[in-house]
Amino acid sequence: MSDKDRLLDLLIEFFSLPPNTLPKDISQNALPAWDSLTMVQLISELQATFSIDFDLDEIQRLRSYDEIRTALANKGIFLQETTGSA
């Protein structure tokens, strides 16, 4: 089990955020750079990194760290914070 939160790392790198950014501060509302073009690139990034395809209704609920984490969990991808024993 990795200690690192891969999704948090990915989002921090993707949006060039300070390394100590908290998950709750990562959302479309909080980040002006998160526009519709960035959204397309982010979905591509998540698909490439986690080797998954999203369904259309999932695509519409990827507006924050928490929502993305939930979508990944629905795909069977569990990050360190959501489960202690995956």
Binding site: E13, F14, L37, Q41, I43, S44, E45, Q47, A48, L56
Partner: protein, 617 residues
């Protein structure tokens, strides 16, 4: 990926690693990181400026950083700008008339059926076939109009016009194939028009997205990104597409390589002519000779496209001429090579001489050779030369010929087709010896030679070598197993084999030396001394010879006798014993006899570590 690795081979390690990670992961974050690192390079490292304008009917904005990175890797100081989406004619007209607006170095038009003729995806809803046929004709006219508009407004700017790929997302492919205005035929007719207008307009080239997509398969498409943003490519597809676009632009800034210098044995045919004999070479219509036949066909096509072929072979010229003359399936003829260097010199010396003969720089050369040793030698001593292949497998060699971009060309002129004839072979110039460089190279191979007694463990290999080796073989005595065993039983005889390991792996037993008693109890006669052709030029003979001298010195032998028996194949060793410091005592055209008295020990060459095998006496 082979080509991509070659594009970036001069980037510093940090940039190389970042760019490679970006391309392998298809991650936009890694792409941006790599682009930032490339900006740290100086102008020379970054390459020439290259401004590219993309006009597209689908949305390339999300993949702009990937396109920018791929084109930067050529390398170039790339600046990619996107025209407004799906406004091709409007943009060309407006850009052309805007005063002071700098023209790009290249303009690319990328379009597809989904926007150009969406009705073709639902033909029965749109008046199939008559009305669709009319719409198709209008589209064909539009293709011509776009090109003439560009030629009027931006004449001199190279235009890359894309073909349209077959749509990936549609139903009823069986019906789509059944009619001359069916969807598949519509795609084919648009593309035929693209090929024709490119052919008839100077400076207009085809960006064959249709062939690219067919080659990549469905994996390049992504239906979610298509619906979300009219961006049709999957993450992997984005990278592959960007590399494909970059390769198409590469010829604008990088000259085509002009010369292919290639090996002969195990490259143009299977086998070694000097060892296996002409009759046993593999070349023909059956496996595996058909692979070599295909290699030759590809090479002949290259020569007709203006690439000069240079033959570099360690062989006796007589053997090679005989093979060219008598092998029925040879596609390449003796005269197809602008320069032929068939001798026992180092290949880097011969390559340098060929460059002098042709009056071309080493950066015009590509090198093809099945031997790891020869490729490594050229890689280290002549970094400007592009090494075509990465392994000795003939199928890999063929693939490298198929996949390389070193000989890409947008067109083949009459001059290209005649180039071969213009290079009459000129006076060969002096070959400068680069002894120090060569020694450094040989050291880098990390060679270890193990001296073994000939015995049960290696007897098979020794007998095979005695039976087969023709070139580095001073007496060419084909001893039988019984004869060798009889020699081994005699206590005063010395029978040594040399096993070679280098950084490529264990090369096995590559040299054998047999010395037997003479009438004089204080003397030994060298009966056989041979080295496998794959270990020539590395100094293993000196190691084996030094081992013999150490041994006979211990046995209190005072006198060594040796002879060279000339054959049609072994001229490479005609002066071997002279080089080893023996004295000639008798010489005629077929036999030279040598003597060493007293026996003086010799040094191993400094680039080979020599050790004794466990079974040395």
């Amino acid at each position: 990926m082979l080509n991509f690795r070659q594009w970036i081979h001069r980037f510093p390690d940090r940039q190389k690693a970042a760019v490679t990670a970006a391309v392998e992961s298809a991650s936009i974050a890694k792409v941006r990181h790599a682009l930032r690192l490339l900006e740290e390079l100086n102008a020379e490292q970054r390459g020439p400026a290259l401004e590219v304008e993309l006009l597209s009917t689908y949305n390339l904005e999300p993949i702009l950083p990937i396109l920018q990175l791929a084109i930067s890797c050529l390398p170039s100081r790339a600046h990619v700008r996107l025209a407004p989406l799906d406004n091709i004619e409007g943009h060309i007209a407006q850009a052309g008339s805007a005063p002071m607006r700098g023209h790009p170095n290249a303009r690319m038009i990328m379009w597809r059926l989904e926007e150009l003729l969406p009705e073709a995806l639902y033909p029965l809803s749109h008046g199939f076939p008559e009305r669709l046929a009319t719409r198709l004709d209008q589209l064909l006219e539009r293709v011509e109009r776009v090109v003439s508009l560009h030629q009027r407004n931006a004449s001199g700017v190279p235009l890359f016009l894309s073909t349209i790929p077959l749509p990936v997302h549609f139903s009823n492919p069986v019906f789509a194939a059944q009619h001359s205005v069916g969807m598949f035929a519509s795609v084919a007719r648009v593309n035929q028009k693209v090929y024709e207008v490119a052919c008839h307009n100077n400076g207009v080239h085809v960006l064959d997205v249709a062939s690219w997509a067919a080659f990549e398969g469905r994996g390049q498409a992504d239906v979610v990104l298509e619906f979300l943003a009219r961006q049709p490519l999957s993450p992997k597809g984005q990278v592959a597409f960007a590399l494909f676009v970059a390769r198409s632009l590469r010829l604008l800034i990088t000259p085509r390589r002009k010369v292919l210098a290639l090996d002969l044995d195990n490259t143009l045919w299977g086998g070694v002519v000097g060892e296996d004999g002409v009759d046993n070479l593999k070349l023909g219509h059956d496996f595996p000779g058909n692979v070599y036949l295909r290699i030759q066909r590809e090479l002949l096509e290259l020569r007709h496209s203006g690439v000069l072929l240079v033959l570099l072979s360690k062989n006796n010229e007589g053997d090679v001429r005989e093979a060219f003359a008598s092998l029925a399936d040879m596609v390449l003829k003796w005269e197809d090579f602008a320069v032929r260097r068939i001798d026992w010199n180092h290949k880097h010396e011969n390559l340098r001489a060929a460059a002098g003969e042709l009056g071309l720089g080493l950066d015009s050369f590509v090198f093809l050779d099945d031997s790891d040793y020869e490729r490594e030698q050229i890689r280290q001593l002549m970094p400007e030369v592009l090494i075509l292949n990465e392994s000795s497998d003939p199928l890999h060699i063929l693939r490298s010929l198929w996949e390389t971009d070193a000989f890409d060309s947008l067109s083949v002129s009459e001059e290209d087709r005649q180039r071969h004839h213009d290079y009459a072979v000129r006076q060969s110039r002096d070959v400068k010896a680069h002894r120090n460089d060569l020694e450094e190279f040989l050291k880098s191979l990390e060679m270890t030679a193990t001296i073994e007694e000939v015995g049960p463990r290696n007897l098979e290999r020794v007998i095979t070598m005695l039976g087969k080796t023709n070139q580095f073989n001073v007496t060419t005595r084909r001893h039988s197993r019984a004869q060798v065993q009889a020699m081994l039983e005699c206590p005063s005889s010395v029978a040594l084999a040399l096993r070679l390991r280098d950084k490529f792996g264990d090369q096995g037993i590559v040299a054998v030396l047999l010395a037997v008693a003479s009438n004089d109890p204080a003397a030994l006669v060298v009966d056989s001394f041979l080295v496998s052709c794959r270990a020539l030029g590395r100094g293993v003979e000196n190691v084996l010879w030094a081992a013999l001298l150490r041994r006979v010195h211990r046995q209190r032998v005072r006198r060594l006798e040796a002879e060279y028996v000339a054959t049609s194949k072994n001229s490479v060793v005609s002066d071997l014993y002279d080089r080893l410091g023996l004295q000639r005592i008798e010489h005629n055209s077929s036999l030279t006899r040598y003597l060493m008295e007293p026996v003086v020990p010799a040094e191993d060459p400094p680039w080979i570590t020599s050790e004794n095998g466990t079974n040395e006496r």
